[in-house]
């Protein structure tokens, strides 16, 4: 199981992660980021891609 953490102090809700892993990250009706905090190991590649595209580098994968 993968544990995902987004530092909401850093996050600016740019939404780039949503393109990479839409099942984990989404923008709500107020354009604010919401995410699922755990994911199956098979989702690692897409979550790493989401980490890579975050301009604020706010996403952490806790192995």
């Amino acid at each position: 199981m993968l544990k995902i953490y987004v530092d909401m102090e850093k996050c600016q809700h740019y939404g780039q992660c949503v393109f990479e892993a839409p099942d984990i990250f989404k923008l709500n009706d107020d354009d604010k980021l919401e995410y699922v905090a755990t994911a199956d190991d098979s989702r690692r590649t897409d979550i790493e891609s989401a980490i890579d595209v975050c301009p604020m580098q706010a996403i952490v994968l806790q192995d």
């Binding site: 780039q16 354009d31 301009p55």
Partner: protein, 401 residues
Amino acid sequence: MSKSVVIVGASMGGLRTAEALRNAGFTDNIAVIGDESHAPYNRPPLSKEVLAKEVTHEAVAFKQRQQTADVVWKFGSPVVDANLDAKTVTTDDGETFSYDGLVIASGLRPRRLDVPNGNVTGRHTVRSLDDAIGLRAALVPGARVVVAGAGFIGCEVAATARGLGCEVTAVAIDEYPMVRPLGPTFAADLQARHETHGVQFRLRRGIADLEGDGALTGVLLDDGELLPADVLVEAISSHCNTEWLNNTNLDLSNGVLADRALRAVTVDGNSVDGVHVVGDLARFANPLFDDVARRIEHWNIPTETGKRVGPVLNAYLSGEGYDELVAQPFTPMPSFWSDQYDLKIQGFGMPALADEIAIIEGSIGGELVMGYYRGGKLVGVVGIGLTSTLMKLRKELMGDA
């Protein structure tokens, strides 16, 4: 026999390429050689929030991933020469590295002002972590700061310096700040927002000389005006770090020309197998827009190009599936962000190509999305806020609306 990849440049592009090679299944040697003394770190905060706080490597370093734990890193050692026939590169301390695959990821360095009295202290740039540490120490309340250049980085520094209580004047040869990517309407709006925050502009002006004997005391403009100054931040475009390739036959006319597989291209127009270009230096055509090769200095490009190169180079070295991978199109979406005061500016595509610009949503002075069109076709969008509208338009730019 075991193969070796040498990546020249230990910044984001070099790191992402190393990761992509490993993710593609390359298990042999990877060496990453960089001129800076730091492990790869994220540059955008250097002109923004990190500059506003304490600047440390820890605050901006990329997390090392398991798959690249066995990569050999060599920091603080600029590569000074390359021999594509012998397949070697040499560092400034005389060490030679042999490669089977070479990745050119040496990036850019800031262009400096060329003025008669240039030998004064108080001159800064904001490309590297060490630059930012030096600049941070100079941005004390009341400091008189002149920013040369009013592009995104210059404007970010201006905003941050205002937040730190400095007096800030931005000098640029352009008509408006950030006008080249954004166009005059949006740029004039952003200028007004900066002025509301107390930034002064001297536009359509150049810098003729610096005043000061030892320490900077003033910046002399080309119309004779003297701006008293303690700090000068030079954010006036960049030079490509390609001098180490001067003994090769690669096309270095602007960065390094690359084909769709990001293989380096020679002056004769031939792609070189096993030699790839990533990041700011890569000059490549993007079929999302046209067939003109361009360098793209946006933050997402090192990652996009690194992810393209990893599988292609792995296939070349393993001899499996290379032609198929090379044949695939490469269509990264240029993406950029800028934080200035409480403004979140976000853009996609290539707005600088536009022949027509129109507001799609919102209005000047508030949240807005600006559309950039060429021949009636959307080629770029830039907005302040309105993220969901921007995300829909990004899909349109990708051609999958």
